[in-house]
Amino acid sequence: MGKTVAEKIFDAHHVDNPSGDIHVISLDAVFCHEITTPIAINDLVARGKDRVFDPSKIKAVIDHVSPAKDSKTAMQGKILRDWAARHKIKDFFDIGRNGVCHAIFPEQGFVRPGFTIIMGDSHTCTHGAFGAFAAGVGTTDLEVGILKGVCAFKKPQSMKVEIFGRMPDGVYAKDVILALIGKIGVDGATNRVMEFCGSVVDAMTMDQRMTLCNMAVEAGATSGICPPDMVTVEYLWPFIQDQFGTKEGALEEYSRFLPDGDAVYTDTITMDVSGLAPMATFGYRPDQVKPVSDMEGTPVDQVYIGSCTNGRLEDLEIAASILKGKKIAPYVRGIVSPATPGIYSKALETGIIKTFMDAGFCVTNPTCGACLGMSNGVLAQGEVCAATTNRNFNGRMGKGGMVHLVSPATAAASAIEGKICNSPLYRLPE
């Protein structure tokens, strides 16, 4: 019987099968941030187990509240910082060098096809864009990952998601994943891996694949996975050239993790994007999705462009192309958070940051802040935000606030109009 990508990765990392369908696997990387890791660290210290399985495989960043906004968040940063220092964790990213975890870790070359990765963060599924099995876990799983380099999972079943057709202009990976979640629901992929394939996925850049995989968890998926190909190799090339010599050699090695033709999936979803329009959420669940045109005219108080979903360079470029030479509506607060210093720096060089500023946007440092209502753009009761983020839960960006999830293009256009609207890059099908 053939195997899925996730099954092949599990086979290559098998440690134990303690009972039934539970499999303990070895981990290639454990990612950490300052919100869920400090409690794991404190617990390890209290148990007299303040150890790490391999400091070179642990990567840590302060990203959720940066700079610290109060004494409590300052202490969370300090616990992580001190721990990284005492265990000689070389890849630790503090303020000035820090970025949103799911953007900076791939950018640093820490993700490879076939890797197993956990993090105390549900959007860890983002890294599946590289053909890795990457899953969000709670603090206890994280703690064991740090201590022993293993994690237990139910044997992963996969759902095949085939995306084909011609992407209309002005429609993006964000619209695709919103439409998909709208179709299968917020528990449509629970306890399963979403394995993406099809011509649309093949044609996507790594930035777009990360957007796609990032929101797999909003349908309940354990991980989203894009099988590795030459696009993956090209992205990783600066980090892997010494290891492989040729790109073809790298691709051949990574092809070990491609799914077999007779792999077994729980189900197959096919999606033709040819008629897809820009999408937006309208309620408090990410599967409450409809075309932006059905929501046109909804006034917004704030527009937020950033996060692990859509804070990468391509996202900023698209938004800036719409904002160029324009001003955002006078009563709208525009906030953009480039997801990493690298992205910020490139956006400065290419004039994107100036475009945002000239349009009236506030440009913040890289941080998760506003997306989960912790800092840098919290909503007041009754306020509405068009956001390029991933969750529209009740209270997510601030108690009593409403979040409409959209693509960077829709966000930029909505900032100019002061109301939710389609971007000028989108043309209605004839």
Partner: protein, 175 residues
């Protein structure tokens, strides 16, 4: 083993997410006890008042996809800090479910129809539950004297986590 008996808090809605269970602004706390006052603070559920309804409850009964969203283990901790060690639902999000067992707590899935029957029979009444771990059965009781026994199953692995009090000691010993 933790306590899995006591009064039931009925939460009659699907897709209750972790931001509703414990909002992100409280994730700066470094102790479980500090989360206690904020459990279910942002829950959207008609007629639900966290200040009035949580006190004295030991078990939650709810619908499908409970605990979806964030990976925050603060969600089980906020329940634990309020004396609630078990959630019974017609379905769970993966990370929340695993977090519960990793903490030595229980997230027990029952068939949708069974959950429907329990809601229809007991929601709105003061209902208590006793959990027989040997027999793997719940007994629901109401003051009128009516009782209902419902069998449940959890895997041997999950049971071993509940008995061991969590995953850290288990893993450190075995791997």
């Amino acid at each position: 083993m933790k306590n899995f008996n006591g009064d039931v808090l009925f939460l009659d809605r699907s897709d209750i997410n972790t931001d509703e269970i414990i909002p992100a602004k409280y994730l700066t706390e470094n102790s479980k006890e500090a989360l206690r006052p904020y459990l279910l603070e942002d829950l959207s559920l008609d007629g639900f008042d966290p200040g009035r309804d949580i006190s004295g409850k030991s078990v939650v009964l709810t619908r499908s996809n409970f605990g979806c969203g964030s990976s925050r283990e603060h969600a089980p901790w906020a329940f634990e800090a309020n004396g609630i060690n078990m959630v019974i639902a017609s379905g769970f999000a993966r990370i929340f479910r695993q977090n519960m067992f990793n903490c030595g707590m229980m997230a027990v899935e029952l068939p949708r129809d069974t959950v429907e029957i329990i809601f229809n029979k007991f929601n709105g009444q003061k209902t208590s539950i006793t959990t027989d771990m040997e027999k793997m059965a719940f007994t629901f009781n109401v003051p009128t004297g009516e009782a209902l026994e419902i069998p449940f199953s959890i895997s041997q692995y999950d049971l071993s986590l509940v008995k061991a009090g969590g995953w850290v000691e288990y893993a450190d010993k075995n791997y």
